[in-house]
Subunit: 78 residues, 2 copies
C-alpha cells in the first residue's frame, strides 16, 4: 500500500539538497510524497510542529518526524 510522506522545507540549500537526494528518490510504489514549502505555506507550520518537526528539512511519515541534517529552525519561519 502506498503511504504518504510529507517533506517540509524552506527553500534553503540544505533543504533543496535533501529534496533532491531523498524526497525525489523514495520508491513511488511505497510512498506518495507531498512537498511543502513552509516559507510559502505558513499555515502548515502548526501541523508540522504538531508532528514533532523542529527544523527543516524534515519528513513526516506515519505521524513521526524525521529531520535530515539541519537547514533552518522552524521558529525562524514564523
Amino acid at each position: 500500500m502506498t503511504r504518504k510522506a510529507i517533506f517540509y522545507h524552506a527553500g534553503c540549500p540544505i533543504c533543496i539538497d535533501a529534496e533532491r537526494q531523498f524526497a525525489d528518490k523514495l520508491d513511488p510504489i511505497q510512498y506518495q510524497v507531498e512537498i511543502v514549502h513552509l516559507g510559502e505555506a505558513k499555515n502548515r507550520i502548526a501541523e508540522a510542529e504538531a508532528a514533532g518537526v523542529k527544523s527543516v528539512p524534515a519528513f513526516v511519515i506515519d505521524g513521526q518526524a524525521y529531520h535530515i541534517n539541519f537547514g533552518a529552525d522552524l521558529t525562524a519561519l514564523k
Copy 2:
C-alpha cells in the same frame, strides 16, 4: 543510472526505524543501498567519519553525509 547510498547504523531503535522508513524505501531504480552496522563493522567507522558522518543513523550519498534524527554519536561506537 543507479547510484550508491550507504546507510550507517548501530542497531539502535532510531536506527532501525530510519532503516525501515528510508533505507528500505528508496527507489531501487535510483539507488543501490548498502546497509552497514558500525557496531559490528568497526573497520568502517573511519570511512563514515571521512564522509562527514557524526552520528547514526546516517546516509552517505555522493560523498555527502545525511543524518536522520539522532540515535548515537559515532564516538560512542569506537
